[in-house]
């Protein structure tokens, strides 16, 4: 696998002047940014800064009041979740999202099967849709091989987070949106998750957009960070730049 250098290609995700108003409240105000292939972008901000709203606009779940988002040049406005996945966008959820009564292997195969063949070939084709090998590779990658045939629901919380991540990667997406991946995960598991995500990014050139509360995690994972406060971008830059930015410190310390 060759390494990809960021920022030498067209943006994979482009956010154009997005605003979102709920009644009289402006949750997101005229936000624009681009993400290039291979980047790991962190989207942070205090509670109520509008990052979740923005995230949902990007995913096509919320219709922005003005502006639009493009992924690989295609607008995500009003796209159904299934079609977004078929457009090559992977995602994880804030709350745990595995299929608890299916084995880890089945979870991961499921994540890829809808991208193969047609409804009919899925009906009459091989039970594993020819994906066992690929799924096992991902399971191996996330160090879950001992749990291959375990029901996902009986794994620890951190392990389930890894299954969740493996599922997000199974269809080989160009971009993956991670919603609070560190939430509720213990420190050892967190280091493991971060290291695996970085390795995956290095090996496959997959772009990540990460929403996160855990500052340490974001700072060490991301290559670039955007800080939102009261619906607007107040800072943007490398982790080092953000760390020393006075506006960011003020926003977080209630300035």
């Amino acid at each position: 696998m060759n390494a990809h250098t960021p920022s030498d290609r067209a943006p994979i995700l482009a956010v154009h002047n997005i605003s979102k108003q709920f009644g009289g409240i402006r949750a997101v105000n005229n936000v624009s940014f681009e993400v290039r292939k291979g980047e790991i972008l962190g989207l942070i901000g205090p509670n109520g800064s509008g990052k979740s709203t923005l995230f949902n606009c990007i995913l096509g779940q919320l219709k922005p009041t003005t502006g639009h988002c493009e992924i690989n040049g295609k607008s995500t406005d009003g796209v159904r979740p299934a079609d977004l996945s078929l457009m090559g966008v992977g995602r994880t959820f804030q709350q745990l999202s595995v299929f608890p009564k299916m084995t880890v292997l089945d979870n991961v195969i499921l994540a890829g099967q809808e991208h193969e063949g047609t409804m009919l070939s899925r009906l009459f084709g091989k039970p594993d849709a020819g994906l066992t090998g690929k799924a096992e590779q991902l399971i191996e990658f996330f160090r879950l091989t001992p749990y291959r045939d375990t029901e996902a629901g009986s794994l620890s919380y951190g392990q389930q987070k890894l299954v969740d991540a493996a599922m997000a990667f199974m269809a080989g997406p160009g971009i993956v949106l991670l919603d609070e991946p560190a939430g509720g995960v213990n420190l050892t598991m967190l280091a493991n998750l971060k290291e695996r995500l970085q390795t995956y990014n290095r090996e496959h050139g997959t772009t990540f957009v990460v929403i996160e509360h855990n500052m340490e995690f974001v700072m060490s994972l991301c290559t670039r960070i955007i800080v939102l406060a009261q619906g607007e971008i107040i800072a943007e830059g490398s982790p080092e730049e953000i760390r020393s930015n006075q506006m960011v410190i003020d926003a977080y310390l209630g300035g």
Binding site: S85, S97, Q113
Partner: protein
């Protein structure tokens, strides 16, 4: 598959083969009837138990299958061809009915199928020239296979058994396919499933159409079994009966429909002493079952089984400990 499961399935098959031997005509006939209702209920289980949609037209689909088969076999066409046409017609009607109904939320499919079953009944009763009206159709021949006649009830039972085993194998294959996996996922976490590319509406529609096709096969078997069909055999009340089979057995369980069909067919015999009160008792039992075990008899059995297996609880506590 575990060896124990295989042995149990083998025993079940032997039991099915031996069941009618030495029995009187009535029992053999009832057993055949159980097999065909199991097929119909299996189809409805796909719609109800796996896709979570209520269809109230399963008897209607059996009616379509039965009338097509009756008309074709009376015209001298072989049963296999007639059954094929019956199954594909039901599949097509299922697609046509389900497509609009599944565009909207709530249990609209339930209403559309309810209306459809009622309409179908009217058409069967009123279009006398084709369907024979309320007098129905009589004298459908029982099919021959390679010179073997299925005229005797015993032979017809084995013919039904073969159809049943084929249907079971097809259903088993469907549920094991990627498509069946998608259903499991859909039941456990629809939002996550959709985010992984699963098109819920198309999936549900196909389930309903396939479920309806199973109804068509059951109907195609009913015509030669009963050798007399009339609109009343395919009214709404019969759709409800099949729905109850699925629910009583345990919707979403593979063997639920077979168990449910047995209960629904046998219960009238067991409750014969209650005379007219039979349906009352029956309806009351269903309500009680729904209140205490919405997953039917198999679900109730599982609950009891889990109660006697304290291991499970202990393990969950340990997991909680790990998380802390």
């Amino acid at each position: 598959m575990k060896p124990l499961t295989l042995i149990l399935l083998g025993l079940a098959l032997v039991a099915l083969i031996l069941a009618p031997i030495g029995q009187g005509n009535y029992i053999v006939y009832t057993l055949s009837s159980w097999l065909l209702f199991s097929i119909s209920a299996m189809g409805l289980n796909l719609t109800l138990g796996y896709a979570g949609q209520v269809s109230l037209a399963q008897a209607g689909f059996m009616g379509i299958g039965a009338y097509i088969t009756a008309l074709m076999t009376l015209a001298g066409i072989h049963w296999v061809v007639a059954a094929g046409v019956s199954i594909s017609s039901c599949f097509a009607v299922g697609l046509l009915l389900g497509w609009p109904a599944l565009r909207v939320q709530h249990h609209f499919l339930a209403f559309v199928t309810l209306a459809f079953n009622t309409l179908l009944f009217l058409v069967l009763r009123n279009e006398e020239e084709v369907t024979g009206g309320s007098f129905g159709l009589v004298g459908m021949p029982r099919p021959d296979f390679f010179g073997l006649s299925t005229m005797s009830n015993l032979n017809f039972y084995y013919f039904s058994l073969v159809c049943f085993l084929i249907a079971v194998a097809v259903m088993w294959g469907i549920l094991r396919s990627p498509w069946g996996r998608a259903f499991k996922a859909l039941r456990e976490n629809p939002i996550r499933a959709e985010s992984l590319g699963l098109k819920i509406r198309r999936q549900t529609l196909l389930a309903f159409a396939i479920g309806s096709a199973f109804g068509g096969l059951a109907g195609a078997m009913q015509a030669p079994l009963v050798q007399f069909i009339e609109p009343g055999s395919f009214g709404l009340i019969h759709s409800l009966k099949i729905l109850l089979m699925v629910v009583v057995g345990g919707s979403g369980f593979f063997f639920g429909p077979m168990l449910g069909a047995a209960v629904v067919i046998l219960l009238p015999e067991l409750l014969r002493f209650t005379e007219g009160y039979y349906l009352m008792i029956y309806a009351a039992l269903v309500i009680v079952l729904m209140v205490f075990s919405p997953n039917g008899l198999i679900g109730a059995g599982q609950k009891i089984w889990l109660k006697f297996k304290p291991k499970h609880e202990a393990r969950r506590d340990m997991q909680k400990g790990f998380q802390l």
